[in-house]
């Protein structure tokens, strides 16, 4: 394929997919190790009510209010889950189930009751994103990458998710040691004077941030898949935390690239004409990678020697 076609049509979605996948997979490592993998599930469900409420308040479909709304919804959900878990003495899984289904139902109801016919806001969009439509019309080929004027026409999602990914990387790098110690041995971390509760909350907040930024571009399915599948696959490949995080980023990026390419060209190779959902395909590929790791990963089995 020529650069003239690839750069405007495929490069931006692939990059956005890769950045979103990595931004979710990195905190996902710690969520998986802390047995909080489903926090990612809960967060991605409550994004919908968040954006609907933001839309009802502002009356427009613009990015920033919606991202703030989604982030606030994630925050409310986490607080509610904690509150129900502690106040009602209910196991975390059930508390999560209560909160995210109720909030999601509220979001759907609000959406149905409000007039969104004039704007592009629906449940499918929230679930599946619109990765394919994030194209770069100002580009004419590889040379456009060095053309400031053309670069200004990049889809907004690209710089946003890139910055988010950098933020996530910075968080993980800066708090690597406390995150690792408090995940492994919380009591020890507390006696060392580490604010373990604040750290846990910060991890969830960073995950929510990644989820909200990623969901805007790629929809919630990828968000859940990327929180869990690459870190889980990476855990089955290595016994060192540092390497696990590295592998998870690699698996995430691989899922995004392969998934996008398969969704766009797979059907054509098979004789069809239309592409299939890139978000769905990226999630599917991450599942295949996990399946391979679960079957052949050198560290797939736990327990002692």
């Amino acid at each position: 394929m020529s650069g003239a076609e690839f750069v405007p049509l495929s490069l931006p979605p692939i990059l956005i997919g890769v950045f979103a996948a990595i931004a979710c997979a990195l905190p996902g490592n710690f969520l998986v190790l802390r047995r909080q993998a489903l926090i990612g599930d809960a967060i991605s469900h409550v994004v919908l009510p968040g954006i609907v409420v933001a839309f009802l308040i502002t009356g427009t479909v613009s990015t920033w209010p919606m991202m703030i709304g989604a982030a606030l919804a994630a925050f409310v959900a986490v607080i509610l889950i904690e509150a129900i878990r502690r106040l009602g003495r209910i196991e975390p899984g059930a508390a999560m189930g209560v909160v995210f289904t109720a909030m999601f139902a509220g979001g759907v109801l609000l959406l149905e009751r409000s007039d969104t016919s004039s704007v592009h806001l629906d449940v499918e969009h929230a679930l599946m994103g619109n990765l394919e439509s994030l194209i770069w019309l100002d580009a004419f080929g590889w040379s456009s990458l060095f053309d400031l004027e053309a670069l200004a026409g990049l889809p907004d999602e690209l710089p946003r998710i890139f910055v988010t990914m950098l933020g996530v990387i910075a968080f993980i790098w800066l708090f690597w040691r406390p995150l690792k110690i408090s995940t492994f041995d919380e009591g020890f971390a507390q006696v060392m004077g580490m604010p373990t509760n604040a750290l846990g909350l910060a991890l969830v907040a960073v995950s929510a941030l990644a989820a909200v930024a990623a969901f805007d571009a790629v929809g919630s399915i990828i968000v859940i898949a990327m929180f869990i599948c690459p870190p889980a696959a990476a855990r089955l490949v290595t016994d060192r935390l540092g390497r696990q995080v590295g592998w998870s980023a690699l698996f995430a990026a691989l899922s995004a690239v392969l998934g996008y390419v398969l969704a766009g060209y797979g059907p054509i190779w098979l004789g069809g004409q239309d592409s299939v959902s890139a978000a769905g395909m990226i999630a599917t590929v991450s599942g295949l990678i996990l399946a391979i790791a679960a079957l052949f990963g050198p560290c797939r089995r736990g327990g002692r020697a």
């Binding site: 998986v32 599930d41 059930a94 189930g97 999601f104 509220g106 149905e112 089955l236 999630a283 089995r301």
Partner: protein, 401 residues
């Protein structure tokens, strides 16, 4: 309108949907209880998301065979097959790899759902797929429901409920105490399998009305709600069935009474309202009751500790303790005991001594284990025993007899 809906006067279809929703609600509430008690509530989330590829595959297969891809029975069979596959993947990942169940659930639900979305986009490109309306199964939709669909749902709900009630005893046993159940000869894996099969049945039958994303709510919210009101397993599942049935019935009726009120979300929000009420108001486990109890409890502990410190002229480090003693007229603001404070303190100290003696008595071990610093010794031993104990300690001065 609402009244007519609640009394089932909105036509044959609406009535069947309402009854079907109620039956599904009851069945989901009861089966959900066993998942909840087994602490596996969110397995249902994996099962429900895993139905999507089955729906897509069934549609494609039915069209390929020359039939109508929208046949509900066919779609439901397909969804049950992939739901079972998803469940099998969760089990396999949990048992055969080092991954924990929550990771397995999250992986399965996102990957199966993602693959389902891929299939939906494939269907959209098919000739017959443009108006397939399969996305209605994501969130449930009762609009344009065929009579045959409504009958299928009502009958399916009734059969699932009947099976749930039939198998409830072994399921209760396993949920309550798996070790005991195994020891008494129950095949735990078989019972767990039956539970999961019922969860799957509820999910599949609920797809059309509630939708696959929200059906989880019907499996989780009613048991959690019921748990607030009772500690007795048998009552939990009964109450949970009532909560689920009520949510299904009222929710479906409300949604039938006006346009733009989607059935699934209304049912879920109805059950959530019941949950919220229970969370705050339940007499024993509710939040209000718990807060009240904790405040009183903390007060008792501090008061008792304060009295013991007074009796032994130890300094009191906690401001709250001093304040309590002062408010009760037992001490002055500077921590010096009043007359009544001295008397109560001496009594508290004597009781501690009595417990000490009691603990050393070889035949009183069970009674001594009741000690928690607060329990009045008079409530655990008889008057005669107390006299015996007192005979073993020198009577301190200043205790009113």
């Amino acid at each position: 309108m609402i009244w007519q809906a609640l009394t089932l006067q909105l036509g044959y279809n609406a009535t069947l949907v309402t009854i079907g929703a109620m039956l599904i609600g009851i069945a989901a509430g009861v089966t959900g209880t066993f998942l909840f008690l087994r602490k596996r509530a969110l397995v249902s989330d994996a099962i429900s998301h895993a139905t999507l590829p089955g729906v897509g595959l069934a549609f494609i297969v039915m069209v390929a065979l020359g039939g109508d891809g929208r046949n509900l029975a066919g779609l439901l069979i397909g969804s049950a097959l992939t739901a079972a596959a998803g469940l099998a993947c969760v089990q396999w990942l949990t048992l055969r790899t080092r991954l924990a169940e929550d990771s397995a659930i999250g992986a399965v639900l996102s990957v199966f759902f993602g693959f389902g979305v891929v299939l939906l986009t494939v269907i959209q490109t098919m000739e017959s797929g443009r108006q397939a309306g399969l996305d209605g199964l994501l969130l449930g939709s009762t609009a344009g429901m065929l009579l045959s669909d409504a009958i299928l749902i009502a009958v399916g709900g009734a059969v699932t409920l009947a099976l749930t009630l039939l198998w409830r005893r072994p399921m209760i046993l396993v949920a309550f105490d798996p070790d005991f159940a195994a020891a008494s000869g129950l095949n735990i894996r078989l019972v767990d399998f039956a539970t999961m099969a019922l969860v799957m049945a509820v999910t599949v039958i609920g797809l059309k009305i509630v939708g696959l994303i929200l059906i989880v709510a019907l499996l989780i919210i009613p048991p959690v709600t019921a748990r607030f009101w009772t500690d007795d397993t048998a009552h939990v599942w009964q109450l949970s069935g009532v909560v689920g049935g009520l949510s299904g019935f009222v929710g479906a009726a409300i949604s039938a009474s006006a346009p733009d009120l989607p059935t699934g979300p209304i049912i879920v929000l109805t059950s959530f309202a019941l949950f919220t009420l229970s969370l705050f108001l339940a007499p024993n486990r509710g939040v209000m009751a718990a807060i009240l109890r904790h405040v009183q409890f903390q007060r008792r502990v501090h008061l008792r500790q304060g009295l013991l410190a007074l009796a032994q002229s130890q300094p009191i480090f906690e401001r709250y303790t001093v304040k309590l003693l002062e408010r009760e007229g037992l001490a002055r603001a500077d921590g010096v005991a009043t007359d009544s404070g001295r008397a109560r303190a001496a009594k508290a100290l004597r009781d501690e001594k009595r417990w000490e003696v009691l603990r050393a008595l070889p035949d009183q071990e069970a009674t001594a284990a009741l000690y928690d610093g607060l329990r009045e010794i008079e409530t655990v031993v008889t008057r005669d025993q107390l006299a015996e104990i007192d005979a073993l300690i020198p009577q301190p001065a200043g205790v009113p007899s």
